[in-house]
Symmetry: C2
């Protein structure tokens, strides 16, 4: 495992679990097992590190959404939450904490959400055999809702979203 990869993995874990602002650089150096000098040589700054973390998480998350059906989207989310826990969307949380005012971070969040939306439209089209903008938007809302309701409702939120999506897909197919 490369030094930079190790740093980014440790940073993602801490930022995700405790928040961006609440995570100090001393905790990062300790978790990454490197001196602050090395950390800054690799990452440049805390903001730049977070931008890289967002990029890494985007790739990791989007890889999970390479599926062919709407139902598999919710299965993928359930898996993700089972492994990562439910703390709400990391991208939206980060955007909120930085007020949308840190350039690299705001851009990474916007890019992720655009890719997320595109992927959902693709999956809906593949599942249905035709494009359905309205249904895709509903599936997006259900996925976003499941992510956030799971914070206090647990996996029941994902189950409910999954069942709702199944009903809406069935309806669109008829």
């Amino acid at each position: 495992m490369d030094r930079t990869e190790k740093l980014i993995a440790a940073a993602e874990r801490l930022f995700d679990r405790h928040g961006y602002v609440a995570t100090g650089m001393d905790r990062l150096t300790q978790a990454a097992g490197m001196s602050s000098r090395t950390l800054y040589k690799h990452a440049g700054s805390k903001d730049a590190l977070m931008a890289r973390v967002l990029g890494a998480r985007d790739r990791r998350f989007m890889r999970r959404l390479e599926v062919a059906s709407v139902d598999a989207l919710f299965a993928a989310l359930a898996d993700w939450i089972r492994v990562e826990g439910a703390r709400g969307c990391f991208f939206l949380r980060t955007r909120a904490e930085t007020g949308g005012e840190v350039p690299g971070i705001a851009e990474a969040v916007a890019a992720h959400k655009a890719a997320f939306r595109t992927r959902i439209h693709e999956v809906v089209a593949a599942d249905l055999g035709r494009a359905d903008e309205a249904l895709a938007e509903q599936v997006l809302v259900l996925l976003e809702g499941a992510s956030h309701a799971a914070v206090y409702r647990g996996t029941a939120a994902v189950d409910a979203a999954r069942a709702a999506a199944a009903a809406l897909v069935e309806r669109a197919r008829a």
Copy 2:
């Protein structure tokens, strides 16, 4: 307007718009138009102030959800977003920023979400003429999803959630 009310209103605005950690006490004193000594006499601490803000927001938000139909829930959310903007659920954001580790804050968030869930179940039962746990959980996910998807999708997210809820209610009624 009472001094404390003015303080809480100003604090809610700043915490909501810029985040809890990012909002310093100097900005709060300036926005509330009072000295830091008076602010601390009224609020006790920053954490306690946030707990009070959460209480005030809960009352304000829940008052809007005193409706009789599922569709009216989404109309109320659309109104709220039109006035307040879409930055994601203030309670979940605050909980995330404080890592769920600040007692007064974590409790206020949990209390709000419990009340929120109860209200949704009541409205679903009133609309349907009978209790429907599964539908209520789906409506909750749709409301939560609309709140968060609206951050980057705007009012289209609420429209989509509203249409999805209408379809699910119709289905439950048949």
